[in-house]
């Protein structure tokens, strides 16, 4: 009785997977890959991702075939060769011939798998001239993109509000897979990624592009893609990189080439405008308001949204010696980072002067820190140059 059940269960598992995978093949579509009950690898939107998918399915079906033969024999003998059925045990226990057969046949099957795998690998390692080079730098816990040969360079942070993570608000469709600034790239162009990291090892992974490469501090890794269709492709960091490893998504927005060029020149202008703002004098309210946003995207991960920090790991901002002490000490901490705790990074190179001024003003006046003082972007610039 029990054996019957067991047999049934095992057959059900095997036969249940196969059709499920087929159904998924048709269901998977480029942009809104966020379908529930997804059970298979995406085919993606590049030649490499499709080849990878085909390779994956090929090996999968070979495994299924081997499984059917091996488990078939096994279940047959479990059904037929039972003591309860009065079956008498044979006593054979050796045969060099069959041992040879089941050494040679699997080896041949493996060779059959290795041939397409090798070919795909060589395609992936292609180093021909690229149309566009993008430097990707992993930070704890965000990505930085530099468009080489232009002034465009920006950070890409998780944009899902903290309240959604803490279950105080309903979750967006792209919960944890949305960023403030996506990586914008043109379609049908060979894009070369140079991948490195600023602190610990990260890995840049977008399933639809079939690009996954480790970002290693001090060294540069290389990868490339050529996207076929415009769309938004989402991925995540794939190497454990500390506390917020699960909260540093990647969003790639592939657009037609002319749209890409106008975006790029917009971005360059914007960067110039930020530089101009550095010379402007802001009111307390302007700074505080801007600082609140910067705090949420840049500081709250460690120091917590309420400024209380995490005891033993990340100090509180509320009532802290730095945030309620002399302005220079606060500037130094934010601009140059902490010499004691590597988790406190040097934000001087990461944030604009305006943003640093705003976030410092905010920290000194929020969470019950009533310092009442402000700092202007130009002060930050002077501090940096001093």
């Amino acid at each position: 009785m029990l054996m019957g059940l067991k047999r049934l269960f095992a057959f059900l598992t095997i036969s249940a997977i196969a059709p499920g995978l087929f159904a998924q093949e048709t269901a998977q579509k480029a942009e809104e890959g966020a379908e529930r009950w997804g059970v298979n690898m995406t085919q993606g939107v590049t030649e490499v991702s499709r080849t990878t998918y085909d390779l994956h399915m090929l090996i999968f079906w070979i495994c299924v075939a081997i499984g059917i033969v091996v488990f078939g024999v096994m279940f047959y003998s479990m059904w037929r060769h039972r003591k309860s059925k009065g079956y008498k045990a044979a006593q054979f226990h050796e045969s060099t011939f069959v041992e040879l057969v089941w050494t040679i046949i699997p080896t041949l099957i493996l060779v059959g798998m290795a041939v397409p795998a090798t070919k795909t690998l060589y395609d992936i390692y292609d180093t021909k001239e690229a149309d566009l080079d993008i430097m990707i730098t992993g930070y704890q816990w965000k990505w930085k993109y530099d468009y080489l040969g232009s002034d465009v360079s920006f950070f890409s942070n998780l944009s899902t509000p903290r309240a959604q993570i803490d279950n105080q608000l309903p979750k967006n469709d792209h919960y944890l897979l949305e960023v403030d600034e996506p990586l914008v790239v043109p379609v049908n162009k060979k894009i070369r990624f140079l991948i490195t990291a600023n602190d610990v090892i990260h890995a840049w992974w977008v399933p639809d592009l079939a690009v996954k490469k480790d970002a290693i501090p001090g060294f540069v890794n290389e990868s490339w893609t050529r996207i076929d269709e415009p769309g938004i492709y989402r991925g995540q960091c794939a190497e454990l990189c500390g506390k917020d490893h699960g909260f540093m998504p990647i969003v790639v927005k592939a657009v037609p080439e002319d749209e890409y060029h106008s975006w790029l020149s917009d971005r360059a202008e914007q960067a110039a405008r930020i530089k101009e703002l550095t010379n402007k004098t802001f009111t307390f309210d302007e700074l505080y308001e801007r600082g609140e946003k910067i705090y949420a995207s840049t500081c709250a991960a460690c120091h917590q949204p309420n400024g209380q920090g995490v005891p033993g790991a990340f100090p509180a901002i509320a009532g802290s010696k730095v945030a309620t002490g002399p302005m220079d000490g606060h500037l130094n901490m934010v601009v140059n980072g902490s010499s004691k705790n590597p988790a406190m990074q040097a934000f001087g190179a990461q944030l604009s002067e305006v943003d640093i001024a705003a976030v410092i003003t905010y920290q000194r006046n929020a969470f019950g820190n009533n310092m009442g003082d402000t700092v202007q972007p130009i002060d930050i610039l002077n501090f940096k140059n001093n």
């Binding site: 292609d126 180093t127 021909k128 001239e129 690229a130 080079d133 430097m135 730098t137 930070y139 530099d146 080489l148 040969g149 070369r192 140079l194 490195t196 600023n198 602190d199 290693i216 501090p217 001090g218 060294f219 540069v220 890794n221 290389e222 130094n332 601009v335 140059n336 980072g337 902490s338 010499s339 590597p342 406190m344 990074q345 040097a346 001087g348 190179a349 940096k384 140059n385 001093n386």
Partner: protein
């Protein structure tokens, strides 16, 4: 007393265990470095290269890109003087990286080169490079850091773009720590240690 079988076996196995520990600690790191050098793993480039006169391949132009990254908590401003240049293989070329120490204290930096694609690493020779030494800048000081290199004429045909990246690390504290350790090992007089620093 003759050794029993068990004592002999134990001694042999312990020797194996200790030699594997030695293998991990003293053989694997240099072996890995040698391996990196041969294969260009991680885009590591070699040590100082003694230039040998070679025929310049005027037919071919290779694009060399320069990228600068600061490792965490490195407040220096650090950027390539030229973002990109085109060179003939076999021809020496010069460029500079520009660094400035905006902090209020003297700092020591070490630049770590890495080359992409890594298979080009063994064909990229540096005859002079600021990365061969640590760089010390006083508070507010800036400097032009020189680099002279030759792309080997044997560079594989498929490679037309080489990206040379430098990551700048703050090693001020690391140096201080090492000096301290040395002090602990062999106590120096205060003057001597100052001279060393």
């Amino acid at each position: 007393m003759a050794w029993s079988d068990n004592a002999k076996t134990t001694a042999k196995l312990l020797t194996l265990a200790v030699s594997m520990l030695g293998f991990a600690l003293f053989v694997m790191p240099p072996l890995y470095d040698a391996f990196c050098e041969i294969t260009g793993l991680n885009g590591k480039t070699g040590e100082r290269y003694e230039a040998v006169p070679a025929a310049v391949d005027r037919e071919r132009l290779v694009k060399v890109q320069f990228v600068a990254t600061n490792n965490e908590n490195m407040p220096w401003e650090f950027r390539p003087g030229t973002v990109e240049m085109r060179v003939h293989p076999g021809e020496p070329a010069d460029t500079v990286f520009i660094a400035r120490n905006p902090s209020g204290r003297e700092m020591i930096a070490q630049a770590i080169p890495s080359l992409a694609p890594s298979k080009a690493a063994e064909y990229f020779h540096k005859t002079e490079c600021f990365c061969f030494n640590q760089q010390t800048l006083a508070a507010g000081e800036s400097a032009e850091l020189g680099l002279r290199f030759i792309v080997d004429p044997d560079l594989p045909r498929g490679v037309n773009t080489i990206t040379l990246s430098y990551t700048l690390f703050d090693v001020t504290e690391r140096m201080a720590k090492q000096t301290n350790n040395k002090k602990a090992d062999a106590p120096l007089t205060e003057r001597e240690s100052k001279r060393e620093g």
